[in-house]
Symmetry: C2
Subunit: 108 residues, 2 copies
Amino acid sequence: MLYYNNHEKCVIKDVLEIVGGKWAIPIIFRLLEGTKRFKELERSIPGINTRMLVKELKNLELKNVIFRQPFPTVPPTVEYSLTSKGEELRPIINALYVWGESHSTQDH
Amino acid sequence: MLYYNNHEKCVIKDVLEIVGGKWAIPIIFRLLEGTKRFKELERSIPGINTRMLVKELKNLELKNVIFRQPFPTVPPTVEYSLTSKGEELRPIINALYVWGESHSTQDH
DNA sequence: TACCATAGTAACAAAAAGTAAAGTATAATG
DNA sequence: CATTATACTTTACTTTTTGTTACTATGGTA
């Protein structure tokens, strides 16, 4: 059915607007370990730069995947954690991880 | 453990080099329906263009996710299908789809 | 003869991502 | 008292990735 195809396409497209960015999954992967501050994330994700981390965190917050909590300390502190929507990605990201691991020795 | 963290990071990084591109998942999603020719794929993936389809198909073939079979017809025909490695992504992409669908009405 | 089809390729323009630096405000160090 | 360090961003600039458009080959159809 044509409608159904269009619907399918939109769901996948919408999903990729959330987790399709280059840094979304690495960030979520780190947050699966628990709440992290901005600098902690920056240090734990190899290759990311400040600008992209800010940008991706904003997108993930806007899409309700992560929760941002600032504290009025000096210097400022901001904690990021997964929302329930983000937490629901855990089995999917784990499965992706297992998929990658099981094929990494065979072919590339 | 430091080694284990580095290992984790590399697996995720390697996985994203395969399916992290903008068009990889939409292409695999279509091929989950079955073998498709180049033009069929191009027509069924809204917004893609020839150059990116060619590029992404080459990458997916190189990473052993899809199989390319050309036929010496005029005009030429090329069929693309999922390898077993690609087929193993089915439950993951389905889960991603369900995740997107279950949250599409609540928030965005 | 003009036009259609498939599976690409090539040259150029636009958009996205990476890099480097600076701006906050305070507190510790020399 | 000046310097340095901190955490979280923002800005300007450069490089890389994507998108757009036009083109190829060959044979069948109107």
